[in-house]
Symmetry: C2
Subunit: 448 residues, 2 copies
């Protein structure tokens, strides 16, 4: 048994200070939270969330916490679950590239719920929340690194399976658990890790993501009253890492703690699609203008992963279209846009788009980066129009600017017509490190 992995991580989570977090990582944490609220506002009125809110409301102990973008309130555990679901339901949330974990939803949702917990004796400061968020993301992504890529390939939805550890670590830190309590929180989280790739594209996926947030929070609240766990919930013989992968990389969890930060590998999506589609959409937006019926066929060159993940002709729902190259190419070429409206059920059903999607051909380029792609329109005239994208918008080589993240939040906040003071919400997020009470952000995220 590799000893000390859990202990090392727990000590780091319990003891790291905000002053130890480099300035760029601090700022990245705020960017991740701007993106989190953007996507939570967008997802808040999806039918999946409506259904979940209605069922979870039957099991709501009080109304301590805001449901982002909605009028209802709930207790902090339910709010953690439902807000994480909202933030992830469109797969428009952040992506930790080495693992494809979406860390923002499971880690931020319970922290902001905690900030509204009326049982807490003291307010949770913005700085304390940001530090806990940085550490929770670190825990989730490092555990993910240790089991990647096999874990996801086997069929485990890594955002859920590792997100629960991130939520547990974050809440453990925010409520002030010591290293032993943090290890118990990780142990209590280990009893709850789950989530399957098979559920992607269905409502069931959201339960797994919501559980990661809720159950990680519960894991820490239980640890707080001495509910204890195994000594080595990560590295033990029958513990998470060995269940999750044949050859876990234990060192990925412990090496470079406090020096290498997971948030530096976190990216934000410009489009509500599977991340491998980003360069494809960039290229199609650049090619927008060609008459659709002049297009004989579309050639799509990229890493084989692009084909493996997105060769989905004939999809019938917006949810499925988010990972369909056929629909993404057609709609981006046709409309010159690739926002939420372009991935609605109604848009997916449009016959010209469906017809164009059927004229798509994949060409594998195994040596290319997954952040690159090339789209060629073969016109009926014989002419060929090619657009090559070396690094997709939103990738680490071409990250969204702060202004672009603000614009994303503004657009998504507006998409349901919610009466929200977006300026106030953004101002609070960018100044969160000096806020005495992080709960103010949640008040700003509730429609008037």
């Amino acid at each position: 048994m590799q000893s000390g992995v859990t202990d090392t991580l727990a000590r780091f989570v319990a003891r790291a200070q905000w002053a130890d977090v480099p300035a760029d990582v601090r700022h990245e944490a705020k960017r991740a939270l701007v993106n989190y609220f953007a996507v939570a506002l967008a997802g808040a009125h999806d039918p999946t969330i409506d259904k979940a809110v209605n069922v979870y409301a039957r099991f709501r102990a009080n109304e301590d916490a805001t449901l982002v973008g909605r009028g209802e309130r709930s207790d902090v555990l339910n709010a953690a679950a439902l807000n994480a679901m909202s933030a992830n339901v469109f797969d428009f949330d952040d992506t930790h590239l080495p693992t494809i974990i979406h860390p923002g939803a499971p880690v931020a949702a319970p922290l902001f719920a905690l900030a509204q917990d009326t049982r807490q004796a003291r307010a949770l400061s913005g700085e304390a929340l940001l530090l806990a968020f940085v550490l929770g993301v670190e825990a989730a992504c490092r555990i993910g690194n240790a089991v990647s890529p096999e874990h996801y390939q086997r069929g485990w939805h890594i955002t859920s399976t590792c997100g629960v550890f991130g939520a547990a670590a974050a809440v453990a830190r925010a409520i002030g658990l010591d290293a032993r309590g943090t290890a118990w929180a990780l142990g209590n989280a280990s009893a709850q890790t789950g989530g399957l790739v098979e559920t992607l594209g269905t409502m069931s996926k959201s339960i797994g993501v919501g559980n990661a947030a809720r159950n990680g929070m519960l894991a820490a609240l239980l640890a707080q009253v001495g509910f204890s766990g195994p000594a080595a919930p990560l590295e033990g013989e029958r513990a998470f890492l060995r269940c999750a992968a044949t050859q876990p990389d234990f060192g990925a969890i412990t090496e470079g703690l406090g020096r290498d930060w997971a948030l530096r590998a976190n990216m934000y999506k410009p489009y509500p699609c599977g991340v491998v589609l980003n360069p494809v959409i960039d290229a199609c937006l650049a090619l927008h203008g060609a008459a659709l019926d002049a297009i004989e066929s579309v050639e799509l060159r990229g890493h084989p992963l692009l084909r493996e993940r997105t060769d989905r002709p004939g999809v019938t729902s917006g949810r499925a279209a988010q990972v369909s190259a056929q629909h993404a190419v057609a709609v981006a070429l046709a409309r010159g846009r690739a926002g939420l409206a372009e991935f609605s059920d109604a848009t997916v059903a449009e016959p010209p788009l469906r017809a164009l999607g059927q004229r798509l051909r994949f060409i594998d380029e195994p040596t290319w980066s997954v952040e690159s792609a090339e789209v060629t329109l073969v016109l009926r005239s014989g002419e060929r129009m090619t657009q090559h994208v070396a690094a997709a918008r939103g990738s680490l080589a071409a990250p969204l600017s702060d202004a672009a993240l603000e614009a994303k939040l503004r657009e998504l906040a507006a998409c349901h017509g919610a009466n929200l003071d977006v300026d106030a919400l953004l101002a609070q997020l960018w100044a969160l490190d000096t806020a005495p009470d992080a709960a103010a952000v949640m008040r700003a995220a509730r429609p008037a």
Copy 2:
């Protein structure tokens, strides 16, 4: 992809009738419920449950449901979790031998909670509850069969990972979902499957078992409002069975449905210990009487699994002692009893027992059944006293009688001095198939 496994199981769960269940299986269901209430009453005041009850009470929407053996009440989801935890906390619950799933706790707990759900328009009859219980156990154990033994060996706590499907199937049937809704419930359960062997012997284990009950119930309640899941949450390419095992046996789920019944392979423990210790304790109880300081050493012959699972010298807690041959042998020889009191923290700490435990030697007998064992006392006089047990008490070859199950319930109900009408509880359980409202059982399971 193996098609139709989920559909076949869902159709069976949605359509089977009580009249289709053979008489012996119907009776076995009642026996399992007598055992369930016995162990839930025993576990209800364990410190693990006390802590969980206190934390979960913060997130209690109402007081619809009884917490078995306790004064507090909770909403039906929390009650499902907490009662399943109570029933499993001592590992004294039932065991489906082919899988080592403890099916009673995760399946019975949500059904009895549902019976107390004030939102339900009609009472849940005893017959309806029993049928749902039979079908839930069937679902959990068949899914377990499909991934055994690899799944548990890898480190997944199969009671939790498969129990959530059993709970979902049972509640789906009890609330009247059709085959499609039942498949969604299984899909929603698949997003929540989890639980690790590493947590056994710690408080964390109980969270996993409680979640199986709670989350399976939630899965069905979500399916009821159209919260839909993947088409093939069991057999799909990135779905549960392939995540759980390298070579799942899909046929184990679908073959012989309605002919072979999992409850026929379900056993009830006479002692609060790992099941492989049962024949060892039988032998030691028969050998009780020898003076401890006359014993030079103890030889323990059995299947290698006995050694692998229970060679745990020097344990320091009652919880750990439940899977320690050293303690079990010492205490059974010394006291001639092996009940809950013999596996308390205080008993484990007694120096004479610890000293005797250190004089234990395992001898592997790979050809023996795990239900057999032989204990030889080697006395300082040179004399040897041997007791061979071919089939442990409680095994399928020597099952506990109905009277023994009644006695188990009576003993465990008394162990915390709860003021309970045990006769009434037993009478209601044995007559459950004719009861108009299954909730009456829960009222009888609450101390006056």
